[in-house]
C-alpha cells in the first residue's frame, strides 16, 4: 500500500513538471507581445523595449523557466505584470468564489444524480425510469451557458428571487448574500454535470444488479431493491468516486464559462481576462495551480479507492 502511494506520488510530481513545461511553452507561442500590451497603445518602441527589459523578458526562455520554478519553491508564483500584485494573493482572493462554487456545484450534482440514477436503473423498462433517463440525456446535452441564461431569466429577472450576476462586495462577511449569489451559478453547473453523473450512476447500478452476489441475496429472499441497496450500492459508490475525480475537472471548466456569464470574480473569470491581457506570469501561475489541483484530486481518489476496495489490494 505504501509502495503504491509512493509510486502514485512520483507520478503526480512528474505530471506536474510536464504540465509546468507545457504551460510555460504554450503561453510563449501565443501570438501577441506582452511588453507591447503592458506598454499600451501610443507607446514608443523605446518604451516597449524598456518594459521588456524590466520584466526580464529579454532573457533566454530556459532562464525564465528556471526562475519561475525556483520561485515556486520559495512559495512565490510570480507577480502580475499589470497590477503588480503577487499571483498567490490574487489566487487566494479569487478562490474564495471559485472553491465554494465548485463545492456547491458538486453537492447539487450528487444530490439529485445519486438517487435518480439508482432509481432509474431499478425501474428500468418502466415509464418513470425511462423518463428520468431521457430527461438526463437531454439535460446533459444542454450547454452550460444556455442553462445559466435561462435560470437567470426565470429566477433573477422574472421572479426576482436571486441575484442575476456579481458577488457581494462584502464577500463572505455577509454569508447569506454570498451564498445567494453563488446559488444560480452552482445550480447551473450542478444540473449539467449531475445529468452526466446520473447516467453513469445508472449504468453502474445496472451492472451491479446483474452481479452474482446480488442475485444470491435475492435468492435468499430479499427483494431486488433490498438486495441492491444492501449489497449492490457500496460497489456503485466505488465507481462513482472514480468518476467524481473527472467531474472536478468538468466543474473547473464549467466555472470558467459560468463566472463570465454571472460576472463572478473567481479564478475562471480571472484566467480569461489574464489570457486576453497576456499577463503571462499570472496565467501560468493560475494554470499550474489548477492543473495541480486536478492531479491531486486524481491522486486522492486513487488512494481512497484502494483503501476501501479490498479487491485492489489483494491483486497486488
Amino acid at each position: 500500500m505504501i509502495r503504491y502511494a509512493l509510486t502514485r506520488l512520483v507520478l503526480l510530481l512528474v505530471g506536474l513538471v510536464v504540465a509546468s513545461v507545457l504551460i510555460f511553452l504554450t503561453l510563449r507561442v501565443l501570438p501577441g507581445d506582452v511588453a507591447q500590451m503592458v506598454a499600451g497603445v501610443g507607446s514608443t518602441p523605446e518604451q516597449v523595449a524598456a518594459v521588456r527589459a524590466r520584466l526580464g523578458m529579454d532573457r533566454p526562455l530556459f532562464v525564465q523557466y528556471v526562475e519561475w520554478i525556483a520561485g515556486i519553491f520559495r512559495g512565490d508564483l510570480g507577480t502580475s505584470l499589470l497590477t503588480g500584485t503577487p499571483v498567490t494573493t490574487e489566487l487566494a482572493e479569487k478562490a474564495q468564489v471559485t472553491v465554494p462554487l465548485g463545492i456547491m456545484s458538486l453537492l447539487i450534482a450528487l444530490l439529485f444524480s445519486l438517487p435518480l440514477g439508482v432509481a432509474s436503473a431499478l425501474r428500468r423498462g418502466r415509464a418513470d425510469g425511462t423518463l428520468i433517463t431521457v430527461a438526463a440525456q437531454a439535460v446533459a446535452a444542454v450547454p452550460v451557458v444556455w442553462a445559466g441564461m435561462m435560470l437567470v431569466v426565470v429566477f433573477a429577472v422574472w421572479l426576482g428571487w436571486l441575484p442575476a450576476q456579481g458577488f457581494p462586495r462584502a464577500g463572505w462577511d455577509d454569508p447569506a448574500a454570498a451564498l445567494r449569489s453563488l446559488l444560480l451559478p452552482a445550480v447551473t453547473i450542478g444540473i449539467v454535470e449531475g445529468a452526466m453523473l446520473l447516467r453513469f450512476v445508472r449504468s453502474a447500478t445496472l451492472q451491479a444488479v446483474g452481479q452474482d452476489y446480488v442475485r444470491t441475496a435475492a435468492a435468499k429472499g430479499l427483494t431486488r431493491t433490498q438486495a441492491m441497496l444492501r449489497h449492490g450500492l457500496p460497489n456503485v459508490g466505488l465507481s462513482v468516486i472514480t468518476v467524481l475525480g473527472l467531474q472536478v475537472a468538468g466543474i473547473i471548466v464549467g466555472a470558467v464559462v459560468i463566472e463570465q456569464l454571472f460576472s463572478l470574480p473567481g479564478i475562471g473569470r480571472m484566467l480569461v481576462t489574464d489570457v486576453g491581457a497576456r499577463d503571462l506570469p499570472k496565467v501560468q501561475g493560475e494554470l499550474l495551480v489548477l492543473t495541480g489541483f486536478v492531479l491531486l484530486v486524481g491522486f486522492l481518489v486513487d488512494l481512497f479507492h484502494r483503501v476501501i476496495d479490498p479487491r485492489q489490494r489483494e491483486a497486488e
Binding site: L30, P31, G32, D33, V34, Q36, M37, G40, V41, G42, S43, T44, P45, E46, Q47, A50, L82, T83, G84, T85, E90, E93, K94, A141, V142, P143, V144, V145, W146, M149, M150, V152, V153, V154, A156, V157, W158, G160, P163, A164, Q165, G166, F167, R169, V192, G250, V253, G254, V257, Q260, L261, S263, P265, R269, M270, T273, G276, A277, R278, D279
Partner: protein, 502 residues
C-alpha cells in the same frame, strides 16, 4: 462545457427571453416626478472594460480615464460634456495674445484626499514630471512647454511657439495634478483632489468611489458610485432587469426594447467621438493604389452599417462632429457600387482578395456588411479575427496588415493622420504642414479651419474609410438624474449624478 455553438445558444436564448418578457405583463409603476435626491444614495454603473491597474500616469486605456479623470484626479482645466474647456483647479486662466504664455490662477483651499493642501509647487512638480518622464502617458503633449513656474497662486506655462492644442491637452492626462512626494501606490490606490475618493478596487469585479467630504467645489450628488465591470452584454442586461445596476453604459442599442419593456430604464443616446475606422495600409500591395482605396470606400454602404448598429451616423472624413474642424464630406465618396467596379477595372484589380484584421471583441455586424458589400463589386474579403494583443503586435506595431478595423474613441486625435509612423502609415507633407499650422494658430477658428482643410485632403486621398461615427448609448434607471451621455466612452464625470429616493 459548450456542446453546441454559441450561435445556437444565443438564438435559443433570444427566443426564450422574448417569450418570457412577453409573459411578464405587469405594468411598471410610473416614476414619481417630484422625487427627492437621496444624498446617501449608492449608484451602481455597468462598465464594459476594467483598467489593468490604476496608475493614470503609466497605464494606457480609456477605462482609466472614465474612472479617474474629473472624479478622482483633476487638472487645472477640464472639459464639459459639450467638449468646452473650463476652469477646474485653476479658478481662471489667460492666454497671452501671442499664444506663448498661459497663466492659471490656482484655487485656494483645495485639499487632496489624504488631507494635504494643494500648493502651487504641486502643480509645477506634476506638470514638470509629466513633461520630463517619457514613459508617462501623454508626456509628449507637453513637449512644447519651455517653462513651468509658480508665483504666488499664479502658475505660468511658457512656450517657444504657440500650441493651439495645449489647453485641450491639459484637460487630459498630461494636465492632472498630483501631490509632490506622495507615496501612494498609484497602481492600486489614488490620491487626487476630485469630488470622489477611491474607496476600493476589487480586481476583476468593481471599483467603488465615495464622496469626498472636504471637496473644494459642490459636493457630489451621491455618497457612493460603484463601477461594476460586466463585459458580457447579456449579463449586463440581466443585471439591469434584476435591478442590480442603475446605469448601463456601452449598451447595445438593439436591445433597447427589451430593457425598456422589462424595467424602469430609459435608453439615452449621446454624441461621441468614436470613429469606426477602416484603416487601409497604403504603403504596399494593392491598397497603395488610390483607385483601389476609393473603390472600396464607394462599395461600402455606410447607411446600412449605421442602421445595423442601431445608433450613430455616417462619417466620411477623419474628424467627427464633436471635434473642431468637422465638415460633412459625404460628397467625397458617395455609395456607388457601379463606380467602384469601374475603378477596380481601371486599376486592373478584377479578382482582388483582401484580408481584414479585426480585434475579436468587435463582433461580426460590421464585418458581415463589409464582406457582402465588397463581394458585390468583386472583391473577396477574408476576415481575420484576432485577440487584441495580436492586433497590437501585428497591426499596430509592425504595420503588417491590409485592412484593419478599430473603433478609435479619442477626441481630437487628428494628429495620427499627420504622423507617418502611426499604424495608418499615411504620409502626406501637405497634411502635416496644415496640421502644424493649425497647432501654431493663435485663433481657435483659424486652427479649426486649417484642420478642416487637412481632413478634406485625408479623405480625398482615401487614406482610410470611416464606417461610422458612433454614439454613446446609456441605459439610465428612472431614479437617476445627471448621468452624462455625451462621449462617455472617453470621460465620465459623475459629480452631478443623483438618485431619487424610493
Amino acid at each position: 462545457m459548450l456542446r453546441r455553438t454559441a450561435l445556437t445558444a444565443a438564438a435559443l436564448l433570444a427566443t426564450g427571453a422574448l417569450l418570457l418578457t412577453s409573459c411578464s405583463a405587469d405594468p411598471a409603476p410610473s416614476p414619481t416626478t417630484s422625487a427627492v435626491a437621496d444624498a446617501d444614495a449608492s449608484v451602481a454603473l455597468r462598465l464594459v472594460s476594467e483598467p489593468g491597474n490604476l496608475d493614470i500616469r503609466e497605464t494606457a486605456g480609456a477605462a482609466l480615464d472614465q474612472l479617474l479623470i474629473d472624479n478622482v484626479y483633476q487638472g487645472l482645466v477640464s472639459r464639459t460634456a459639450e467638449q468646452d474647456i473650463v476652469p477646474a483647479l485653476a479658478s481662471d486662466f489667460e492666454v497671452s495674445p501671442d499664444g506663448l504664455t498661459y497663466t492659471f490662477t490656482l484655487r485656494e483651499g483645495v485639499l487632496f484626499h489624504d488631507g494635504q493642501p494643494l500648493t502651487p509647487q504641486d502643480v509645477v512638480w506634476s506638470l514638470t514630471q509629466v513633461k520630463d518622464t517619457a514613459s508617462y502617458r501623454d508626456s509628449a503633449r507637453l513637449a512644447g512647454v519651455t517653462g513651468i513656474a509658480a508665483d504666488g497662486q499664479d502658475i505660468t506655462l511658457t512656450l517657444a511657439e504657440p500650441d493651439s492644442s495645449l489647453l485641450w491637452n491639459l484637460t487630459g492626462r498630461a494636465g492632472l495634478i498630483l501631490k509632490e512626494g506622495d507615496t501612494t501606490d498609484r497602481k492600486i490606490a489614488a490620491n487626487g483632489t476630485g469630488p470622489f475618493t477611491l474607496e476600493s478596487w476589487k480586481q476583476g469585479d468593481s471599483v467603488t468611489l465615495q464622496r469626498f467630504g472636504d471637496y473644494w467645489g459642490d459636493p457630489a450628488g451621491v455618497a457612493e458610485v460603484v463601477f461594476a465591470y460586466i463585459p458580457e452584454t447579456q449579463a449586463a442586461l440581466n443585471a439591469a432587469l434584476a435591478g442590480e445596476v442603475d446605469v448601463v453604459t456601452g449598451f447595445d442599442a438593439n436591445l433597447t426594447e427589451q430593457i425598456e419593456a422589462g424595467a424602469e430604464f430609459a435608453v439615452e443616446v449621446g454624441a461621441s467621438t468614436d470613429k469606426g475606422t477602416l484603416a487601409m495600409n497604403s504603403t504596399t500591395g494593392p491598397l497603395a493604389d488610390v483607385e483601389v482605396r476609393q473603390a472600396i470606400r464607394q462599395a461600402i454602404d455606410h447607411d446600412a452599417i449605421v442602421e445595423a448598429l442601431g445608433v450613430g451616423q455616417t462619417q466620411y472624413g477623419p474628424i467627427p462632429e464633436l471635434d473642431p474642424g468637422y465638415e460633412g464630406l459625404s460628397d467625397v465618396v458617395p455609395f456607388d457600387p457601379e463606380a467602384a467596379r469601374e475603378l477596380l477595372a481601371e486599376a486592373g484589380e478584377e479578382d482582388l482578395e483582401l484580408t481584414l484584421t479585426i480585434p475579436s471583441f468587435y463582433g461580426t455586424t460590421v464585418t458581415q456588411i463589409l464582406v457582402s458589400n465588397l463581394n458585390d463589386v468583386g472583391v473577396t474579403l477574408h476576415v481575420d479575427q484576432v485577440e487584441f494583443s495580436s492586433w497590437l503586435n501585428d497591426v499596430y506595431t509592425n504595420h503588417d496588415y491590409e485592412l484593419s478595423f478599430v473603433l478609435h474613441t479619442e477626441a481630437r486625435d487628428f494628429e495620427n493622420w499627420a504622423d507617418p509612423d502611426y499604424y495608418f502609415g499615411y504620409d502626406n507633407a501637405e497634411v502635416q504642414e496644415l496640421f502644424a499650422q493649425s497647432l501654431a494658430a493663435t485663433d481657435e477658428a483659424e486652427a479649426a479651419e486649417l484642420l478642416a482643410q487637412a481632413a478634406r485632403i485625408v479623405s480625398e486621398d482615401h487614406a482610410a474609410d470611416w464606417l461610422y461615427n458612433g454614439e454613446s448609448v446609456v441605459a439610465v434607471g428612472a431614479s437617476i438624474s445627471g448621468m452624462p451621455t455625451v462621449n462617455v466612452n472617453e470621460r465620465l464625470n459623475l459629480a452631478e449624478l443623483t438618485k431619487s429616493e424610493g
